[in-house]
């Protein structure tokens, strides 16, 4: 039923992009046959490095966690297979999962310790353990010290020994193809949207039910496993390992590949790996002759290249190239099922109760003993002058900053100490005072993020695209909500192209996809023009009539007075008054607080 109602997505009749990818894959598969042997070896290296760089795209470009230590994880995979094949006689096909286990466990341990770190502490930590692991490889006699381990057996496939670079190239290219495909699948999934949302900070992602820390650890381990796979390939293509390719310097180069190519694009990683590898090969021959001495002078050029990239093409080279390629259309999946809905509370029953809430910041009581009640099916406005504690109250209810004392009860459950993520899963959805959207994604994708908590598909299902049924249901639900707020026509445009008023409305649609019993709006009219405010008010009234309960924190008196059923007024962190708009308008204390009649001394005395 919904398909007929939805506008046809802008999808080209001819999937040019898919065709192009197929063409690129065919060329890549032909290369090992036609290139000279030396260049086939380079091709193998590019494929291997691109796998590591794709891990960095997921971790750094999408999730925003910078790691200089991927080479160390690659070393774990390489050394695991080197030791087990040469000393225990294992088949390489068994050492690959063994490498995953070793790398996965160490990455999990490091992730659990370091991913709680914020901002710049994490990359510094990756430098530290990147160096430590390198020195451990070099100083452990069982790993061959700095000379390494030789005579690693080749990989055997169906009785074939992949000992020549030409045959091994196919293994590396297939591995790269699978990794690239999986990464693309992941990015266009529920988990991928959560990863992108997390980049801007945990507040938005957690407001839609994402467990930020867990997702960070998952992606970190995934990137480490990709590096481990690359290490396994590297060990069996070189047939020997030593610590040098797994040093911090190598780790830095992988990050450079991702940054130069375009750290937010899977193909950017491949482009970066190819560029840096080929450039190094060329410079390694050219520079020593030019300078007249031996040494790895190519790092000078790499460093300058990175600085120039950061200054002139901060998103990397791939986006520049992509402009010339045909755009891929958004594909709407056929809907087979609908997401389960939530049972809505009886109108008029208490939905949210705040009792004697207190929030203390050091010596400041931002919220002091405030109580109020919100009934299902009404619009309640929370107003007050600047610094009245409205936003703090908002944070107490949404779990961003828990109350110092007092109680918040939602639908009969005490939510005072729950996290933002848990509170969202109980049926509370919100918008933000400063719009938090993903400008590079379509309205549809942005809206779908709101349904994160209604989906179940995890990392593995997303990597393999096994969650398409759920994704389809989510797409159609998001489309329905976009139509509900009047943005259905623009579902396939980019969110960054919208005006501020429409972005606010898009945030409402995103919140509605969560099927909330309570919708919280944080200053939705801030920065809007008059007409946009009227549209917003009309939308909220319509939603109320459809049974949505709304709590709105707002500055704008006109909007609030003509919209809400009841009001709670806060001043200096305390509850000043409560009642219908007419009662509030007549309340002298409220007028004093807002208009500043000369009673400030009394008020200050009362607040202290």
């Amino acid at each position: 039923m919904t398909r007929s109602g939805s506008p046809a997505p802008a999808r080209p009749a001819f999937p040019a992009r898919t065709l192009l990818t197929g063409l690129a894959a065919t060329v890549a598969l032909l290369l090992p046959l036609i290139l000279p042997l030396f260049q086939v070896t380079l091709l193998v290296n590019i494929a291997i490095f691109a796998i590591v760089a794709i891990g960095l795209v997921l971790l750094t470009g999408i999730l925003g966690l910078t790691s200089f230590g991927q080479a160390a994880f690659m070393g774990l995979g390489a050394y695991t297979t080197a030791v087990l094949t040469t000393q225990a006689g294992w088949s390489p096909w068994l050492t690959l999962p063994a490498g995953f286990v070793v790398t996965g466990l160490i990455a999990l341990f490091l992730g659990l310790i370091t991913l709680r770190m914020q901002g710049h502490y994490l990359p510094l930590a990756t430098i530290a353990w990147g160096m430590s692991l390198y020195y451990i490889f070099g100083n452990t006699p069982a790993l061959g010290g700095f000379t390494g381990i030789t005579d690693i057996p080749p990989v055997r496939l169906f009785g074939w020994s992949l000992s020549s670079p030409r045959t091994f190239a196919y293994l590396a290219l297939v591995a790269l193809g699978l990794v690239a495909l999986g990464a693309q699948f992941l990015l266009s999934s529920r988990v991928g949207r959560a990863m992108r949302a997390l980049r801007g900070g945990p507040v938005v992602a957690e407001a839609f039910g994402v467990n930020a820390f867990r997702l960070r650890v998952q992606v970190f381990v995934l990137a480490a496993l990709l590096a481990s796979l690359a290490g396994w390939l590297y060990a069996h293509s070189q047939r020997f390992v030593n610590p040098t390719p797994f040093s911090l310097q190598a780790g830095i180069e992988y990050l450079f590949m991702a940054v130069v190519g375009g750290s937010q694009y899977v193909w950017g990683a491949v482009l970066g790996a190819a560029l840096i590898t080929l450039l190094r090969e060329w410079l390694q021959n050219l520079l020593p002759a030019l300078i007249g001495a031996q040494g790895n002078f190519e790092v000078i050029v790499f460093g300058v290249l990175i600085i120039l990239t950061l200054q002139f093409a901060p998103r990397g080279l791939w986006p520049l190239l992509e402009r010339a390629l045909p755009q891929s259309g958004v594909r709407l999946l056929p809907q087979r099922s609908r997401l389960p809905g939530r049972a809505m509370p009886q109108p008029g029953t208490p939905l949210l109760q705040v009792a004697h809430a207190v929030k203390q910041f050091g010596g400041l009581r931002a919220v002091n003993d405030v109580s109020f009640e919100l009934r299902a099916g009404e619009i309640l406005g929370l107003i007050g002058p600047n610094g009245a504690g409205k936003s703090t109250m908002f944070n107490l209810i949404t779990g961003v900053a828990p109350a110092t004392s007092g109680q918040v009860i939602f639908a009969g459950r005490d939510i005072t100490r729950l996290s933002a993520e848990q509170i969202h899963r109980l049926g509370v959805a919100r918008t933000f005072q400063h719009v938090h959207l993903l400008p590079d994604l379509t309205l549809l994708a942005n809206t779908m993020l709101g349904g994160y908590a209604r989906g179940k598909a995890g990392m593995v299902a997303s990597l393999l695209h096994l969650e398409r049924g759920e994704e389809a249901a989510l797409q159609h639900e998001a489309l329905r909500q976009l139509q509900r707020v009047g943005l259905g026509e623009q579902a396939f445009t980019l969110a960054g192209n919208l005006a501020l008023g429409q972005q606010r409305i898009l945030e409402v649609a995103r919140a509605l996809v969560a099927d909330p019993t309570l919708l919280l709006l944080d200053e939705p009219a801030a920065g809007l023009r008059y007409g946009e405010k009227m549209e917003l008010a009309a939308l909220l009234r319509r939603l109320r009539d459809e049974g949505v309960t709304v709590l709105i924190v707002e500055h704008d008196m006109d909007l609030v007075m003509n919209l809400v059923d009841r009001l709670v007024v806060m001043n200096y962190g305390e509850r000043l008054a409560g009642g219908t708009p007419a009662e509030i308008r007549a309340n002298p204390a409220v007028r004093e607080a807002y208009l500043g009649v000369d009673l400030t001394e009394d008020l200050a005395g009362g607040a202290a």
Partner: protein, 349 residues
């Protein structure tokens, strides 16, 4: 344990304190740079290397490659500056920038070419070293970081790592792969009871302490120092009262390069410096800086001293594992720091 042997312990402790004092200077410079410009300055150690190796070249009567780097950077920076000025329509200022940079470069080139082959006394060589190394700081800021002024901390960090690689590579080109030592400023030993200490290590500790005191007065008593502190506290606010973030950045990087070059000459007699020693030296300063949360100067200095001591004792008992111990140590410190630092949940830069 052997390290507590009364004849060995004081030597190790003095070694640790000497190196620790230099790490402490670096830690202070790193905290300063981060506070003012948000740059995590990985190449700090390269200034140290350039300090030592420039002095070592001067000792041999060779014009160091530092001069070429300085001239190239000066040229690039002048072109960038003039380009901005031309675009603003300030043609005369732009020309003045170009001519000024040209004259300055020529003067440096002539000065170095004349004075270096004469092998002047150590003090003059040290001054010349500072003259060659200190300007690298502001020039690097102008060419690399100023165009990225509004980038995130992580982008600035990646730029720092890139710059570190460039400077290391150039150091290899300029000075070759061999290690060099520089002569001590204060030769001879002092006997304190049973222990013999070199006068140089006492000098290092003394100079470091004096420099820290000097920095303290600079920040507390002088206008530029106060301007830097204001920028560190609130960049926008400082800008509103007329402190330009660019000039604050340039001043900061000048101080940092000065500290780095001086540190290199202080540590030069005790460490065989190679072109790539800078990274490890810088990182050790870093551990100190991070112990101070990249904001507290006294904590950073104390942390760096601790790193010097740990390194000294570790290198005696477990020399192969020295680096593993020092760098694994950073993990609990980072964890503790990131758990205790208050984090703004929303709307940060």
């Amino acid at each position: 344990m052997q390290i507590f042997d009364p004849t060995i312990f004081p030597i190790l402790a003095a070694d640790g304190l000497t190196n620790g004092a230099v790490y402490a200077l670096l830690a202070l410079a790193l905290v300063l740079i981060f506070a003012v410009t948000r740059v995590i300055f990985i190449p700090m150690g390269e200034f140290v290397v350039f300090g030592t190796l420039t002095l070592a070249s001067l000792q041999l009567g060779k014009v160091p490659g530092t001069l070429s780097l300085l001239l190239v950077l000066l040229g690039v920076a002048a072109l960038m500056e003039a380009f901005t000025q031309f675009r603003r329509g300030q043609t005369r200022q732009g020309l003045r920038t170009l001519i000024g940079a040209g004259l300055l470069g020529a003067a440096l080139w002539v000065l170095a070419g004349w004075i270096v082959p004469l092998k002047p006394p150590l003090a003059v060589q040290a001054l010349l070293t500072l003259l060659l190394v200190a300007p690298l700081g502001p020039l690097v800021y102008r060419t690399v970081y100023q165009p990225l002024q509004n980038a995130t901390v992580l982008v600035l960090l990646i730029a720092s790592v890139a710059l570190h690689l460039v400077l290391t590579g150039l150091a290899l080109v300029f000075f070759g792969p061999e290690g060099s030592r520089t002569p001590p400023f204060a030769p001879g030993n002092v006997r304190l009871g049973q222990v013999t200490l070199s006068q140089q290590s006492l000098l290092v500790i003394l100079v470091s302490a004096l420099l820290m005191l000097g920095l303290y007065f600079f920040f507390e008593r002088t206008m530029p120092g106060k301007a830097l502190r204001a920028t560190a506290v609130n960049r926008l606010g400082a800008r509103l009262v007329g402190i330009s973030p660019s000039s604050a950045g340039i001043l900061t990087f000048t101080l940092a390069a000065l500290i780095g070059g001086l540190g290199g000459m202080l540590i030069g007699p005790s460490v065989a410096m190679t072109y790539d020693s800078g990274f490890l030296i810088g990182l050790k300063g870093f551990i100190g800086a991070i112990i101070g949360g990249l904001v507290s100067y006294p904590l950073a200095a104390a942390g760096a001293l601790l790193v010097g001591l740990i390194e000294s004792f570790a290198s005696f008992s477990l020399s192969a594992w020295k680096e593993v111990i020092v760098f694994t140590l950073i993990l609990p410190v980072l964890l503790w720091r990131s758990l205790t630092t208050r984090h703004l949940p929303e709307d940060e830069e």
